[in-house]
């Protein structure tokens, strides 16, 4: 397997493993995450399409270290794995930190609204 192809696959797998074993933020189970990723994918095709277009490329790839597939237009398929790894990692840590700091409900032990009041009142006195 070409180097960039292998790195992209391993990179994405590493992020998924980090979520499942370490962070356990639960974003991969949220419908909003997948809807958001689909939206990001559309915009990624536009922006990455511009960056990689072979007529005037901003980023130039070494054919020897990647697969021959570019979809659509001139976007290397590896870029989707690279991008998805980056965005998933960021979203996982965002959600993980939100839960840790109490901004996000933890889901399994969702506290009644009244339980949250003393902390809110202390944090932001009116």
């Amino acid at each position: 397997m070409p180097e960039y192809t292998a790195a992209a696959v391993v990179g994405l797998l590493a992020v998924v493993v980090a979520e499942l074993v370490w962070f356990r933020s639960g974003v991969l189970r949220l419908r909003a995450f997948w809807v958001s990723m689909a939206i990001c994918l559309l915009f990624m095709v536009v922006t990455n399409g511009w960056l990689t277009k072979l007529s005037a490329p901003i980023v130039l790839y070494n054919a020897a270290t990647k697969s021959p597939w570019r979809v659509p237009w001139d976007i290397p398929v590896e870029d989707y794995l690279f991008g998805f790894a980056l965005l998933t990692l960021v979203t996982v840590v965002w959600q993980w930190d939100g839960r840790r700091s109490g901004v996000e409900p933890t889901g399994r032990h969702r506290a009644p609204a009244t339980d949250a009041e003393p902390r809110d009142a202390a944090a932001a006195p009116h």
């Binding site: 180097e3 960039y4 790195a7 990179g11 949220l30 419908r31 909003a32 995450f33 809807v35 958001s36 990723m37 939206i39 990001c40 915009f43 922006t47 511009w50 960056l51 005037a56 490329p57 901003i58 980023v59 130039l60 790839y61 070494n62 020897a64 270290t65 990647k66 690279f82 991008g83 980056l86 965005l87 990692l89 960021v90 979203t91 840590v93 965002w94 930190d97 939100g98 700091s101 901004v103």
Partner: protein
């Protein structure tokens, strides 16, 4: 101008996604500590990935479309900007989608609150104030 092309693509990303914070109440920029915790470590990891990829010849950058400012380990300034800007855009998207999908969060969407206010015929002459319920 051509040398700014890559940076302008990233600037366009920030501009296009800004309404998600303002209109759809994403609250990403308004949680700067959480944003830094989420974005900076990932940006650092992908910066290193980029440095390795550049050194191993996986990709190069057109001298015509970048500023030419190169950071340590041979990574162009634009790539670091990419690793910060694109994750911010995706978090804005994630939070905006959540606000729209989750009934509990829908109350936090400014544009929907505005529509409700219009509906109750209170809008004439009064501008919504931040934090106003």
């Amino acid at each position: 101008m051509d040398h700014l092309q890559y940076l302008m693509v990233l600037g366009a990303c920030l501009l296009v996604t800004l309404p998600l914070e303002v209109v759809l109440g994403a609250r990403v920029y308004r949680q700067p500590r959480r944003l830094a915790v989420a974005v900076l470590p990932a940006a650092a990891l992908f910066y290193l990935w980029d440095a390795v990829a550049v050194s191993r010849g996986h990709w190069t950058f057109s001298a015509s479309y970048v500023t030419g400012v190169t950071l340590p380990l041979g990574v162009p300034l634009e790539e670091l900007a990419f690793f910060v800007v694109v994750p911010i855009c995706s978090l804005l998207s994630f939070e905006a989608v959540r606000n729209l999908l989750d009934a509990d969060r829908r109350t936090a969407v400014p544009v929907l609150a505005l529509v409700r206010r219009r509906g109750s015929l209170r809008a004439a002459g009064s501008r919504p104030v931040a934090g106003d319920r």
